[in-house]
């Protein structure tokens, strides 16, 4: 209960941040050349000034900017994200349609990066300055420097074009109707390459942090005590070191949530996944500012949610937080 209260307070503290982001974005988009009505008129193939005026009135664009901002925030409170003129339906439903692939992709990449980052970090720390450590650390540096979209393209060349093991893009096969387990497997096979591509840079970051934090914890007194009482090295690591060494990794998930969402814009474009990131890209290209604003709102919400979950995990791993708080 105490944990929830603490994390809840952090959550409440992020509401001003969210409002700040929304106001900032709204004002920023006022500088954009052309508004929604201009974009619609262009889509319709032009129209007279009277129609434009009517449309502006219909979308509430004829009042002053502070009034528009007020209306916008009031609509957001009621979870109304406005109307997308490009997709011809409410922004909220456009975004909800695109959310599942992104959430799947992010969860899969995060799990992949976290698990292997942990594993490699532990292996590197156990053999510090010997060849496994050198190999893993070097690979980590190279992965960190690899542009994700380029890695994705090269993976397509190798695994889809030459070996033909995995599909080069898309979320599922449209040609055949699949149900049940086959559909799940189909989607999974489409997500293997995107997951690796998005996860690679985070794998590099996690393994570096894990290695450093393992090295730090391994030198603490209580680890020496554990060794002195005759525990073998594996048990020292799994029972005593890991839990404390995990703390920086968990913090990092929260810090990297935004970066990961940004990375999925590029990865979804490479693999033509119909997700939130690709929607962000499309709405920039098509100047669909309402949708763009909606995506900004939803991605900020996602980042705040991830941080809330991270707070809960953190408190569970480190009881001192709740005891002292």
């Amino acid at each position: 209960m105490r944990i929830l209260g603490l994390a809840g307070r952090r959550l409440a503290a992020s509401i001003p941040t969210l409002i700040l982001i929304l106001i900032g974005m709204f004002l920023l988009l006022q500088f954009a050349p052309g508004d929604t009505v201009d974009a619609m008129m262009a889509q319709m193939g032009g129209g007279d000034a009277a129609t434009a005026k009517d449309l502006r009135k219909f979308y509430g664009l004829d009042v002053s900017i502070p009034a528009q901002l007020g209306n916008y925030l009031w609509r957001l409170v009621r979870l109304d994200l406005g109307f997308s003129s490009i997709y011809g339906k409410p922004v909220a439903s456009v975004i909800i349609e695109r959310l599942p692939p992104t959430i799947l992709l992010m969860t899969a990449s995060l799990s992949f990066a976290f698990f292997f980052g942990l594993l490699f970090g532990v292996i590197a720390a156990r053999g510090v300055n010997r060849w496994p450590d050198t190999l893993i650390s070097t690979l980590g540096l190279v992965f960190y420097a690899t542009p994700s979209f380029w890695f994705g393209l090269m993976a397509i060349v190798v695994f889809s074009v030459y070996l033909q093991w995995l599909p080069p893009g898309g979320f599922e096969d449209i040609g055949t109707v699949q149900t049940g387990i086959w559909r799940v497997l189909g989607i999974a096979s489409h997500l293997v390459l995107p997951t690796l591509t998005l996860g690679l840079i985070f794998l590099a970051i996690y393994l570096r942090i894990m290695r450093a934090s393992m090295l730090e914890v391994l030198n603490l007194d209580y680890v020496r005590t554990a060794r002195a009482k005759g525990l073998d090295e594996t048990r020292v690591v799994t029972r005593h070191v890991l839990r404390n060494a995990l703390l920086p990794m968990v913090t990092l998930i929260g810090l990297q949530a935004g970066t990961m969402l940004g990375g999925s814009v590029v990865v979804e474009s490479v693999f033509s996944l119909p997700g939130l990131g690709r929607l962000a890209y499309e709405s920039v290209v098509q100047r669909d500012l309402n949708t763009l604003l909606g995506i900004v709102f939803v991605s900020a919400l996602l980042v705040i949610t991830v941080n809330f979950v991270v707070d809960l995990i953190y408190a569970r791993l480190d009881p001192r937080i709740t005891a002292g708080g």
Binding site: A32, A145, W150, E216, L261, V265, V284
Partner: protein, 276 residues
Amino acid sequence: MDAVRRYFRSPAAVAGLVLLIIVIGMAVSAGWLYPRDPLALAGRPLIWPFSNPRFLLGTDNSGRDIAAQIFYGARISLLIGGVATVIAILIGVLVGAFSGYYGGWVDTVLMRITEAFQTLPNFVLLLVLVAVFGSTLTTVTIAVGVVSWPAPARLTRAEFMSLRNREFVQAGRTLGMKDIQLMLGEILPNALPPVIVYASVVMAVAILLESALAFLRLSDPNVASWGNLIGLGRDVLRVQWYVSAIPGIAILVTVLAVSLVGQGLNDALNPRLKGR
């Protein structure tokens, strides 16, 4: 001098420096080796690398020399990476200095803004900025700088907070020095080294951000940039994969060089933290 000796004792740091010098050398010699416009038509399209001595790295889909684009691309990457880093560090130091020195409501307000920037995915913000202000070389560089300042700001703030009540600052205060003199003349020189080292991380990320933007064709299309070339090569990926592969290696090498130099500097300046 100790730091210099420590730097050159690390093979990784030396390798990074050599790679960085090579990339800078490419940027400098581009105009001299390839006097023609790198985006001009040079020969038949899609010549494979090493098959024609005139085009060592082959040509792209529209018959432009890939090697020339790689050399000129080094200029663009270093230019955008460098200038964006300077912008990010300047904003970050300014925000962090005021926040850390004054504390109180100044700190609260500035940190709320920093938090807002950190909550928003930086690539999404970059997309919005490019959508609003267009994608010329100048706007893209400024936009990359504007999305990269929060981390240096937090670093500077932490340094200023730990330094603001040290004896030498208090001595300056009793001498009647103004706040701005204390911040610039006394605290800043002591707070700067870790921030400068961190600049290498900012620069590595800035180069990656710009190349991703260029790959999505949202960066300046009128300059020879590595990301542009990768995006172009995507159309012929199935057979002529080298068009995308070559510039990707150039980005990888550059970012690797910058990170290695940064890590080497960090280890050389903070020898006690080595290996972290």
